[in-house]
Symmetry: C2
Subunit: 444 residues, 2 copies
């Protein structure tokens, strides 16, 4: 499958069987679903909102095409009148969300969608699919940026991201999170992300001698060459790179940098820096890569790296490849509802999140309240879609990136810690708590 034209069928079968049951029962009332993460994965103290743009594009283009309808008819599950109804279905609802690039926390609704219940139900699967992935990656990538302590970090994850869509979304989410660029050319084209790249071991080994590979690359990229020096022996590679750097200098060109991708990175970088500095090549950059994540970047703080390529572990959020994200019905026909399943209980009603900031400019705590409440603090959920149309004032990817940098500045260091972060205080308002108890009593 390379190019799906219509993703409306990319949903769970039960969304459509439930829809038919609603249709048959004439249940067409408006429903509100709330999307939130129930708990923190290991070592996470916050989440980065990401993935809304894809949700909006999907909702705007939502429709069943004829091949899709024919396929559904072939299943002997659906009635003709229901299929006829689906043929005319578009998304007409409203969406409120915490904008992409904002920080949020467990239990907080990052998105609330209100629509006729059939529409609201069918779109669940895609919405979770996109927000879950991009939130995981933006959060992991923000941790990498934090751990890199001001050094540039670039995305090398495409090859081991989970499929083509993940490869694209990892580039987008990591750039949103503060990465300096990506190796993913299609993401560069699609999202305007700066591209970055060096060379592979195969390039070096395709030449008889390492230095011939370096010379060939330098000839093609006289001002942008980054040479990979660990194919055979990192120190010998550094010496070959010095030789090529001098040849380039003789032609008025400049070697941009070298990359080390294996071995003891800290020790290699120190030795390679010494070799270059001894030759006066103090501005040749050293780039580190090879299975790095935020834990490695924190450990490498003292090593003389100028930037990092971060791939697989960020691109699959390796230490937390999933989060307990849920899309729960919280209101139906103006009746607040909840679920009491063991370990999966939810809070009823349409909600809002209020962020309270102290005199020092740091975020103090968040209150999750009912949307009808007027509590002190900044309101986090804003309307991004009304009557099935995207609002026009949405931020660009660059603006999201700036928003996130600002939000992270207001977050205490202990909440941003790479290991065992402190819990940021999140409370439920007294009114919301009372409503929940009232409904739980009724359902008990």
């Amino acid at each position: 499958m390379i190019a799906p034209e219509n993703l409306t069928l990319l949903t769970d079968l039960y969304q459509l069987t439930m829809a038919q049951a609603y249709f048959r029962e004439q249940e067409r009332g408006r429903a509100t679903f709330s999307l939130f993460i129930r708990s923190y994965p290991p070592n996470r103290g916050y989440f980065v909102s990401a993935g809304l743009q894809d949700v909006l594009e999907y909702l705007e283009s939502f429709h069943f095409d004829q091949p899709g309808l024919d396929y559904l008819a072939s299943l002997s599950l659906f009635s003709d009148d229901f299929l006829h109804y689906l043929a005319g279905l578009h998304f007409t609802g409203e969406v409120l969300a915490i904008p992409e690039g904002r920080i949020y926390f467990a239990d907080e609704p990052v998105l609330e969608l209100t629509a006729p219940i059939i529409e609201a139900q069918i779109v669940e699967t895609f919405i979770i699919n996109q927000v879950h992935l991009q939130t995981l990656i933006a959060t992991k990538a923000a941790r990498c940026v934090h751990a890199a302590g001001g050094r540039a970090v670039v995305d090398f994850a495409l090859r081991r991201a989970h499929g083509t869509d993940a490869g694209m979304k990892v580039a987008r989410a990591s750039y949103l999170a503060g990465f300096a660029g990506t190796s993913n050319v299609l993401a560069g084209q699609r999202y305007g992300i700066p591209l970055t790249g060096t060379m592979a071991h195969s390039f070096v080994s395709s030449f008889e001698r390492e230095i011939d590979a370096f010379r060939a690359y330098a000839a093609s990229f006289p001002n942008k060459a980054i040479l990979l020096i660990d194919t055979y022996n990192t120190i010998a590679g550094a010496k070959n790179a010095v030789q090529v750097a001098k040849e380039m200098a003789g032609r008025g060109q400049k070697l941009l940098g070298v990359r080390i991708d294996s071995g003891d990175l800290a020790a290699s970088a120190t030795e390679v820096r010494r070799i270059f500095d001894a030759e006066g090549l103090t501005d040749v950059k050293i780039i580190g890569s090879g299975g790095l994540d935020e834990f490695d970047l924190e450990r490498l703080a003292a090593a003389p790296f100028d930037s990092y390529g971060v791939g697989t572990r960020m691109g699959v959020s390796a230490d937390a490849p999933w989060a307990d994200i849920a899309y729960k019905l919280v209101e139906y026909q103006n009746r607040p509802v909840l679920k009491l399943s063991t370990g999966k209980a939810s809070y009823p009603g349409k909600k809002q999140v209020f962020r309270q900031t102290g005199a020092n400019g740091k975020a103090d705590k968040d209150i999750i309240g009912l949307r009808s409440e007027n509590l002190p603090g900044e309101i986090l959920l804003g309307e991004i879609m009304r009557d099935g149309r995207t609002r026009s004032n949405l931020p660009t990817l660059l603006e999201m990136r700036e928003t996130l940098a600002g939000d992270l500045d207001t977050l205490a260091d202990r909440v941003k810690a790479i290991r065992e972060p402190s819990r940021y205080p999140v409370e439920f308002s007294p009114k919301l708590t009372a409503l929940r108890e009232e409904i739980a009593k009724k359902n008990a």
Copy 2:
């Protein structure tokens, strides 16, 4: 990004910069790259070959379109003559591979591609992206099928798979691995996989009373209803389901089953089975779900479940979300090459894998040799593409599924163990070992 028309730019920038350097140096010789997994992730004793069909479709459609070329031109990295060359580029190479559905092991080349070096290099990223994901998932899913001990397992992973492409490939790879079906409607349409589905908690909570939800669903699906009984209280839910089952029986209909998605699954299933059996409803099925993986399924072996829905942990291969897969240059212009980087050393030359089977029909060991060798045993790598055209004799998804079931039968139980499996013996042929030492000496 919902519908990418052309994935040729879905590659790493360095593939294109290296390509330009090759182009400039007139390096157009044929290269062979070998794709293999360096080591086993935790608790893995084998891999399932998966993902080749997507690789073949990609290679056949590989071409740079005008918007892509315009974008590359805008980067000020590439020369006009190189871009002109890219405009006419198609994939013309040959691919050998271990067919989808076959078992293979660490170090074994699952795919070897031979093509002019520029073509072979640019396609690396996509090939790894697809084979890596589908291998991870097919392997994880095969473990789930094994742990389920004959009970049906279905794919519920779409919502938390990493993006849209992963959602599709998880459905495909898990079906290949022996799953009975998927909830993913688009995957049902695209791949012909049987669809399965029940209902969500939101359906139950949208009605004032649980039993009303059950009745509405039964009315819409008189012969295929599976009721979710844990929204409020599993035992009370089971009693409501009994009531509805009796009403259905009165109308000549039959309740298919109930699903339990939370709490102590084994205890709940035992109690629910007792409740149904006491009413003579012995053929109402009990389906288990809720964060299950192969470790849970093994633990649930004694519980009276009839089938399982398996989602997130399978769909992201949660305990092993990545594998150390590599695509290494092993031959260039008939010269065997290798890489010596610390911890990442490779074996040179075009290869073949020979599987030796004992008198008991069980696989004894595999030998990785040179392709030119003629060793005893079954030859695993077969040609799937020649001159850029897919061979016509490739298996269907159903055939791959049967192949895998057969291959798993030949594998000793200790290699298939869910925890700490034994290592299946894989050896390198003396000729391959000698070639490696010879080249390593030369490069040292």
